[in-house]
């Protein structure tokens, strides 16, 4: 009976229902938009940093991250690479070997990080993207590519032969002559000054360590499932290895994101204050409008508890409808700004680009945002029903029916 009455009430005064519905729907829309933008910025930060350098997850021998010695490296045949590749959510498992050496040309020399890439994997593409001059080392040749500022410092250019000197695997001395085949620009001065790339095979050869790698870099399809995937990898490999996520590998970045998160919470809080107030205003007006009607119902003998139940049901139905409309309305907008992100303009857009970061703010399309904020608005909307309940309880039919 009450259900039926409530349903009829909702459709009876369509204008009022429409205004209430739209208040709730827009509340959801605004909250979702704001959060989508904030999370989008965070995702963008992670994506640029992670893809430029360390990968979402890395596996090393326990202790390598604290003390990056070659002796803390791993041997490829010992690792269950196949098994890791077969796990869900994994796009690539890329073996990496990394070491520091002194690089000299003429009477200039400089400490350099030598990184490897696996010719059979995706990584040449990533290195190739940074190539500004020359070409990648040919298979089987003793060739390297290096950062442009490093080449500049050494006064060396393509075709020159560099001397690498350092310690090899297990105390041996590593030394070798390599020809520069190309120059890289990482857009990050620090990397341009200190990075050299050669193929995994040549680096293993230089260090006198066949099959040696220092880390496995893992790419993910869905970065949001980071910890789940890391846990799965842990269960596949032995306890002598450490599995580290980008959050552990780059605590700086993690902190930066927490910073923007803290700010986001304050902004959200303020937005919710406004949203709550707008919704309250709507409920308030709607209740005032219906005082007369409620007075009539009471005058003809409807119990207050039934009136309250009626308002409650009406409120729940409209709230749920409003939230659903809001979520449906927000999704295409978030999707649009995800595909066509906001662009940062102004003088520093160029400087940002030079840092290797795209000057854009894409929106996140994480469905959890819509669900979470839809629920928050629903809760606020349900709490606001306290107001009409209070009014009904205090209602005096005689005075209420006086227009």
């Amino acid at each position: 009976m009450i259900l039926k009455l409530a349903w009829k009430n909702i459709w009876r005064n369509r204008r009022r229902t429409f205004i209430t519905l739209s208040a709730i729907a827009f509340a959801v829309l605004f909250a979702v938009m704001m959060r989508s933008m904030q999370e989008g910025m965070e995702e963008q930060m992670v994506k640029t940093s992670v893809e430029n350098s360390l990968g979402y997850i890395q596996i090393h021998t326990k202790g390598y991250w604290d003390d990056k010695l070659l002796e803390n490296g791993m041997s490829v045949p010992d690792l269950p690479i196949q098994q890791i590749e077969e796990l869900d959510n994994i796009t690539i498992v890329d073996p990496k070997l990394e070491t520091g050496m002194i690089t000299s040309f003429g009477n200039q020399s400089r400490g350099t990080y030598i990184l490897s890439y696996d010719i059979d994997k995706d990584s040449p593409k990533q290195v190739k993207k940074k190539l500004v001059e020359g070409k990648l080392p040919r298979d089987g040749k003793k060739e390297v590519v290096l950062g442009i500022e490093l080449a500049d410092y050494l006064d060396a250019s393509i075709g020159d032969t560099l001397v690498f000197l350092g310690s090899g695997y297990q105390g041996s001395t590593a030394a070798g002559l390599y020809v520069i085949s190309g120059l890289l620009d990482f857009h990050i001065p620090e990397l341009n000054r200190s990075t050299t790339y050669m193929s995994l095979a040549s680096l293993q050869d230089l260090l006198g360590a066949e099959d040696l790698i220092t880390s496995l870099m893992i790419g993910l399809k869905k970065p949001s499932k980071l910890n789940e995937t890391a846990a799965k990898i842990k269960s596949v490999i032995g306890s002598e290895y450490e599995v580290m996520t980008w959050e552990e590998l780059m605590p700086d970045l993690k902190q930066l994101i927490q910073t923007s998160g803290a700010k986001g919470y304050i902004m959200n809080f303020i937005l919710y204050m406004i949203i709550s107030f707008v919704m309250f205003g709507t409920v308030l007006m709607a209740t005032q409008e219906r005082k007369y009607e409620m007075g009539v119902l009471q005058a003809i003998g409807m119990k207050k508890s039934k009136s309250i139940a009626l308002v409650l049901v009406e409120n729940i139905v409209t709230s749920i409808m409003g939230v659903i409309i809001g979520v449906i309305g927000a999704s295409p907008i978030a999707y649009y700004f995800n595909q066509y992100p906001l662009e940062i303009t102004g003088d520093s857009a160029k400087a940002i680009l030079e840092m290797g970061i795209e000057p854009i703010i894409p929106f996140s399309v994480n469905p959890m945002i819509a669900i979470n904020h839809g629920l928050i608005v629903l809760v606020i909307s349900l709490l606001l029903v306290i107001y009409p309940i209070m009014i009904i309880r205090k209602l005096n039919p005689v005075s209420a029916m006086k227009l």
């Binding site: 009022r16 205004i19 739209s22 208040a23 827009f26 509340a27 605004f30 938009m33 704001m34 933008m37 904030q38 910025m41 003390d67 990056k68 010695l69 520091g100 002194i102 009477n107 020399s109 400089r110 400490g111 500049d152 410092y153 620090e190 000054r193 200190s194 605590p251 700086d252 902190q255 927490q258 910073t259 803290a262 700010k263 304050i266 902004m267 303020i270 937005l271 204050m273 406004i274 949203i275 107030f277 707008v278 205003g281 709507t282 308030l284 007006m285 709607a286 005032q288 409008e289 906001l342 940062i344 102004g346 003088d347 520093s348 857009a349 400087a351 940002i352 840092m355 970061i357 703010i361």
Partner: protein
Amino acid sequence: MKTILKIAWRNVWRNKLRSGVVFTSIVLGIWAGLFVVAISAGMLEQQKRGTLESQLSHLQIHSNDFLEDIKLSHKFSNTQVKQIENVLSTHSDVANYTKRSISEGTGTTPHGFSNLKVIGIYPEQEKNVTTIHSRLIEGTYFTKYKNKPILIGRKLADNLHLEVGKTINISFQDKDKNFIQAGFKIEGIFGTPSQSFDVSNVFIKASDFTELIGSDSPYTHEYAVNLNDVETSSDFSTTINSQFTNATAENWATLSPELSFNDETAGTSLMVILVIIIFALTFGIVNTMLMAVLERKRELGMMLCVGMNKQKIFIMIMIETVCLSIAAAPIGLLLSWLTIAYFGSVGISLESVGDALYKAGYDSMVYPAVDSIIYLNITLMIVFASLIASIIPARKALKYNPAEAVRAV
């Protein structure tokens, strides 16, 4: 016109509840807009100050050759040193300055190596310009060890497994381009907000620097200058650059594009947030005023019947909103000013993420602050938005058919 004004004014007071809702919406809108801007600006300011104090100073001067290519030989000539110091010590804008010698080198320990910027400083002058001396986590500031002391960053210490009292070997070129290596004793470990700064910069005494490169007189590569007012840094740089042909002054914004990057992204996202807030608010006002108009259908119909024209009804409804805005604006401003002033002196604690914030270059406390012009901007924006918001309900009233409206319940 006077009559309409009077009617509108009375209408505002007639339904106090409804007026209260619109009034509070506007107050809340102004407050929220200003507070959001203030928090944003406060956080940025905090971060900027941290970076400027610990690393950048307000502006730096280098020789043009040095900017092109960091090399030992690209120092200032003796005449340049005299000229620059003459300008810096006499100019009234300058608060403090210090000079530095810089060389790129490589630090090695048994645990690895790191490419470093070796900076030779005059410890006492440096204290006046940057806050490295107060950011020591361990150790002392050039007071303990006589023989080649060095200050290194926390991140570098972690990476190379170094502690106070241990030795790091640093190799670089001397003035004749010979490769030299020297052991430095770690006297202190500093932590700035930037890990990338901590991992790649080390400080030694300028006198040790001069001795190691085999020179009799100091090599000066950099002047770090603090002004009385950081806002004048761009103008002061221009002054310097017009006076010297082979030296370039760069202010903090040029030195650190990351800081301007933060400014820009924060600016863009702030705009979006403001737009969202204003939309939410406008929507609230539209809703309430629309209900007000619909509720008063009968009354408005009656007015139309007795001969008031539609234009006047439209103006009347607009004036109602204007009255509310004009009344609400000063209260909103006062409220914002009070909260911003209060939190500006007390600070808002972001304790739960405080540790992370500190490391990322922020303090765990945020002190909201806002330029006075922003008060005006935001208030005008909100008042304007509320006017726009009242157009829709007022238009709705125009569409009433008097005969029908008057019969509405």
